[in-house]
Amino acid sequence: DAMVIQNPRYQVTQFGKPVTLSCSQTLNHNVMYWYQQKSSQAPKLLFHYYDKDFNNEADTPDNFQSRRPNTSFCFLDIRSPGLGDAAMYLCATSIRGAGANVLTFGAGSRLTVL
């Protein structure tokens, strides 16, 4: 089945130790998103790629970076995780264009910072 796959599902890191979360998709969608979600709050958009065009949200800290080497893969890099970065990180994909607005989410990667 076509889907969005996130790895790892659970990541434990130490304060300040870099972390990379990955997302892959078989939907061939041209847009990929990274959201941060804390404690059943609404997902908060960090950034998204439209093809290779990177779009950062104004309030996303510099500590968060992203890479999209090809259509299928997107990575979230947290350079120096703080305790406040502990959260569920959700990857989503969509097709950009009129009439296609639904985001398909992965299962998420839960980050714990010790």
């Binding site: 997902p43 985001l103 998420g108």
Partner: protein, 112 residues
């Protein structure tokens, strides 16, 4: 069934009853709305969507109602089942290429 606004984070219903989850959106320019269901430890799943040129849309056991006059969206779940227990998010989008904005989640708890 019971209805609750977004300022009340939890809705508890009896299995078999109908559930109504309400959402007030803020952007009068929003022309597309989605309801997502998120089970514990999982990513949000698409339930149903509606465009602003409609006021009602039905799916399997779910109905979404849109009242643009008062900027109100609701999700109705018929014959609520234990598997419907989850956090529900409404989301709005003011245009095809604009950002999807999520509302605060509401937890639906189904009593056996």
């Amino acid at each position: 069934g019971e209805s609750v606004g977004l300022h009340l984070p939890t809705l508890s219903v009896q299995e078999g009853d109908n559930s109504i989850i309400n959402c007030a959106y803020s952007n009068s320019a929003s022309d597309y709305f989605i309801w997502y269901k998120q089970e514990s430890g999982k990513g949000p799943q698409f339930i149903i969507d509606i465009r602003s040129n409609m006021d009602k849309r039905q799916g399997q056991r779910v109905t979404v109602l849109l009242n643009k006059t008062v900027k109100h969206l609701s999700l109705q779940i018929a014959a609520t089942q234990p598997g419907d227990s989850a956090v529900y998010f409404c989301a709005e989008k003011p245009g095809a290429n604009s950002k999807l904005t999520f509302g605060k989640g509401i937890t639906l708890s189904v009593r056996p």
